[in-house]
Subunit: 339 residues, 2 copies
């Protein structure tokens, strides 16, 4: 087996009832992968399907007694939930028993515990939440999507390095272009943070493009878009909101009258393809980059299709050794700067 | 005539060839409105259609010799373009000859000159760019959309007052709910700016809702969403980008094969309704609030349909005396705070 994924089988809104079957389904399609289902032994076993026998040699169940709840404070979760499914899944990555951890649980707690258990890579001060978003020309790696609501310029530079490595290693892009998200493309535009970060990026060995604006994320202008976690999270949630509104309008218009319902029947195949392309479930699975190990966060409300994509992400990121590559790249940059 | 609108007939990507006919078209639909077309007399007259005779008593042409270009620095435009169409249109508002100014020109220059000519309302330190965006339940007033890339908490409070007045006066909403845009709804979330602004808003006589996230803009959770101009501009441009990408995907899928082209023909009416509902031209016309006068900025790339909506916005905002109402409301709040 090439990759072992530790799955927090208790996290998220749907718990083991969704997580366990979705994980086994993923194994069927990935004969090289194995999983460790972490959580309440009884709750997990109750969800094992009959088809489990054929996968048994690739599944381990690791019992633990606690669960981090969705609204628990990260500090409290870290201090009092040492036998939680989230903590044990991360411990497994730390111990080298698993190559990646996937959780649909409490984002803040996952971030805090991951930082505590796995530690940061040398040269990286803050972890970032990263996702590949769809674009007209393929996909755009974007970070930070919410881990750091206040950043200093050097953090954005570190995000640029991490995003660049991810786009190259997982996205297969050669020498990816990296841009800073701003509110205009002219040099004097924006706030102090992006202006100072731009100065540092121009001096770095990174394929720095300059500034881009919000629309460029989806136009595919560059391979990697960098911003602080406040701006990134607003952009991501705003995108989800407008995509949902457009889907809502489409549903309304296609069910308005007998004629439009008939049109919906005729156009069914095409509409399905469109909704598949903009289906946010395909983009589920955000990486926490900057840690000494692969941690993937699934949406708490993910269904089994969405959770399958988060498991895919765990496999891609860990099998391409993204954390190690980031570590090497950062050390290189630091060495260049020291010269 | 109730409302006179001063139109910068030289601004934007398309100039008088689009602006003049679009303005006359607007007059046909609004028998109470009059306009002053400001710009090069000859260039404007060259674009007057034959139907002009019937509107002549509601149209004045004010010749001027200069144009502010799209890439000119605001400072330079202010100092050296005192006989530009933009400047004269604003002077007309200042002098009381027009009730509003509409320009599709250079945003930064329009903002700087408007501030210089019209001045700020007492109690408002910064103008904000405001727009009503579509939502699942109607529309959401959002500000600031890009005038201020760095804000202090009291600026967000002033934006909240201005947005609230606009939603009430133009949107017809009674006691509108106002929220701060954040990256989570819990009290401890976000950066220092929103946390301090939230504290001030809770103490204010405003229907303060709390925090909302990006998706809430389009879900219609509240009537007014407040943020700094950096975040607001990114959210707006990101929305435009993803809406354009979805339209692009729809076009691609509906033209992929003979079958899908046939489906497009059958669904044509429904698709037209959907594309009308998400047509960004309908939302063209951002108000610069906080000034002693009504200034509306049209997209530089607006076509005649979009520009018509900007003229509508000018009519609504000026005929409902939004600047005066904001001025009164701010003085009230200051008086309460002084007690």
């Amino acid at each position: 087996m090439k990759s072992i994924i530790a799955v927090d089988a208790m996290g998220g809104d749907r718990g083991p009832a969704m997580l366990v079957p979705a994980t086994l389904e993923f194994l069927v399609g990935h004969p090289d992968a194995g999983v460790i289902l972490v959580g309440d032994d009884e709750a997990i076993r109750a969800e094992l399907p009959d088809s489990f026998a054929s996968l048994e040699n690739r599944v381990e169940i690791r019992h633990c007694s606690q669960v981090v709840t969705m609204d628990e404070s990260p500090t409290r979760a870290m201090r009092t939930k040492k036998d939680s499914s989230m903590r044990i899944a991360l411990d497994l990555v730390k111990a080298g028993e698993a190559h990646a951890c996937v959780s649909a649980g409490n984002t803040g707690a996952l971030m805090a515990i991951a930082r505590f258990v796995l530690k940061m890579l040398p040269g990286i001060e803050r972890p970032a939440i990263v996702q590949a978003l769809p674009s007209m020309t393929g996909s755009t790696v974007m970070l930070d999507l919410g881990a750091n609501s206040e950043c200093r310029p050097e953090h954005l530079v570190q995000f640029a390095v991490m995003g660049s490595v991810l786009a190259e290693a997982v996205g297969g892009v050669d020498n990816p272009t990296v841009a800073l998200l701003n509110i205009g493309s002219e040099e004097m535009k924006g706030n102090e943070l992006v202006q100072l970060a731009a100065e540092e990026l121009r001096a770095c060995d990174i394929n720095y493009y300059g500034y881009v604006e919000g629309n460029d994320i989806y136009e595919g202008t560059v391979d990697v878009v960098v911003c602080d976690g406040f701006v990134g999270n607003v952009a991501l949630k705003t995108s989800e909101g407008i995509a949902r509104m457009i889907s809502h309008f489409m549903r309304e218009e296609f069910t308005r009258s007998m004629g439009s319902k008939l049109a919906a029947v005729v156009a069914k195949g095409v509409l399905k393809k469109i909704s598949d392309r903009i289906d946010h479930r395909r983009y589920n699975g955000a990486s926490f980059l900057g840690l000494r190990g692969t941690v993937i966060k699934s949406h708490g409300s993910a269904d089994s299709i969405a959770f399958g994509f988060a498991l895919e992400a765990a496999l891609s990121v860990s099998s391409r050794n993204v954390p190690e590559l980031i570590g090497e790249r950062v050390l290189q940059l630091l060495a260049e700067q020291a010269q």
